[in-house]
Point group: C2
Chain length 316, copies 2
């Protein structure tokens, strides 16, 4: 059974309704290009790139795939403005904005002929994104690795409420690591899924081998939140995260916690593989990831598990 | 399209794979009996009953339905031992134990011919329940109203991992308010769903009219957690919950918070309808509940939405 055609595959001109998350330190051209070549939409993670590096990765995408691809830009990033300009200048087909106000750049991107996706943690913000012209909204539940919305809405609650709230295609994100969850997302009305951690733990991901192995080794419940009432982050429990959570429980103020976190914890954890002091961003569903696969193998597994899940719902 | 037959309907001898949560102050005989008469499994919520009251409600069940039903018993409740004895004495068909160690009573209940279900918040505890003889496990995600597991695993993450961990039928609970989420649960491998808040907000529920209306009025994101690192509880945000969360963020210890909560907050909120100082237990998905329905109407809506969701997954 092939992947289904949906409003997302039609809107983006792709073959499989699977978007790879634009993850800092993991989503370089090798990962994004492999995803696009498998029929999904590969996203470059500009959040950990300088202008120069982003240009290099976009050029590499052009050289290695003829399929559509995109760039994820966290709008609170200090390079956001430059990255937007770079994407327009280089004619990137899709830009996915996140962690910020979609009103800022959507019209400018659309005027340049770019398809705009925006990541939202609530139906309220989904409506805001759709009404300022975003073509697709990515509804990301609190299961997701890295930064989470403060509302803490889970995927099961968030996805159908976003589907009800907007008429543009909805991409379901947060906790999707296999084809069963993809089936659930489609049943709930989503037009596709965004997959993060599962792609961070592939051969093509630029994350360190140590980070990938830590994800493979992580038991159930290992990816926890901290800074929950301020700017929630989900990462594997380690010495650093345990320290942050202990301080948080003792009433330490958010400003102090943010200062302790610093600016390069995710680089230290994901890219440099410091398993004790680094931030190992990961989905709550990381416990279900048991090996480092190739991107092609991930697509095959999704296709197989999706077909099985659909058969479960439609007994002969 | 009728409800599907599953391992749960076969194990329990019911027509629809829907269990109503045994909710304190809401799940009396009127609600449980209506659910069983609609083809599901109605559960009495013994957690808010004395021995005498539980006996009266079981007698009313016998008088108003010939279909299977059950009793939910929180094992940390001070009446747990007596309630177990009452259920054995009165030949209740199904007992669902929760919030405690399934090793304590499962063998005794099974010896009496009772089908035993047990509520778990993790795959690890699901394995423990299955290995001590429970017939069914209820995998309850952090979306659920009332007490949550400390692991905070969401339904999307928890359900498939419990399905993978045990061979007994898995009932998916936490965040299920309509037939779309039921379709998602079945796609993820569950054999049925447990529905709480949606049934607490029915005509047959013994919750107060004020509580039901508060649930209907609740916007997205209104049902939040407090006591998160100790004994997490999910309820509608009100003066009481906001106070608890403020104290928690300031580092107040769990013992003090538990004392402030006291023992009768849920009664005050759900049964007496004190919207400011009471505890209004509710699912994170409460925002999707827009009216007080009859139990029969809830079943009709589930059936319709489940069928639509399945059709979405299987285009002609």
């Amino acid at each position: 059974m092939p992947f289904p055609n949906t409003a997302l595959t039609e809107r983006l001109g792709i073959r499989a309704p699977i978007v790879s998350g634009g993850m800092v330190w993991a989503s370089g051209w090798r990962l994004a290009s492999a995803v696009s070549n498998c029929g999904g939409l590969g996203l470059l993670g500009a959040g950990s790139m300088t202008e120069e590096l982003l240009r290099t990765h976009i050029e590499k995408m052009r050289a290695t795939t003829s399929a559509p691809f995109g760039v994820n830009i966290p709008l609170l990033n200090r390079h956001a403005e430059t990255h937007i300009a770079t994407c327009i200048d280089m004619g990137v087909p899709v830009v996915c904005t996140a962690a910020g106000n979609p009103v800022l750049y959507t019209a400018r991107l659309k005027d340049a002929g770019i398809t705009v996706m925006h990541v939202v943690p609530s139906a309220r913000l989904a409506q805001k994104a759709a009404s300022c012209g975003c073509d697709v909204v990515v509804a990301e539940g609190v299961e997701a690795g890295g930064h989470n919305g403060r509302d803490a809405l889970t995927s099961l609650v968030l996805w159908p409420s976003v589907v009800d709230a907007v008429s543009v295609p909805v991409v379901a994100a947060g906790g999707v690591v296999d084809g069963r969850q993809m089936a659930a997302a489609l049943a709930l009305g989503a037009a596709g899924v965004q997959v993060g951690t599962r792609f961070a733990v592939t051969q093509e991901s630029s994350a360190s081998a140590a980070y990938k192995q830590a994800c493979v080794d992580a038991p159930e419940g290992q990816a926890v939140q901290f800074l929950r009432d301020d700017t929630p982050v989900r990462a594997l429990r380690n010495a650093y995260v345990t320290d942050m959570r202990t301080r948080e429980a003792a009433g330490t103020d958010a400003e102090t916690l943010r200062a302790l976190r610093g600016k390069f914890r995710a680089k230290q954890g994901i890219f440099e593989g410091d398993l004790d002091a680094g931030e190992l961003s990961a989905s709550q569903a990381v416990g279900a990831i048991s090996q480092v696969l190739s991107v092609a193998n991930v697509f095959d597994a999704f296709q197989r598990d999706l077909a099985r899940a659909i058969r479960r719902l439609t007994p002969a």
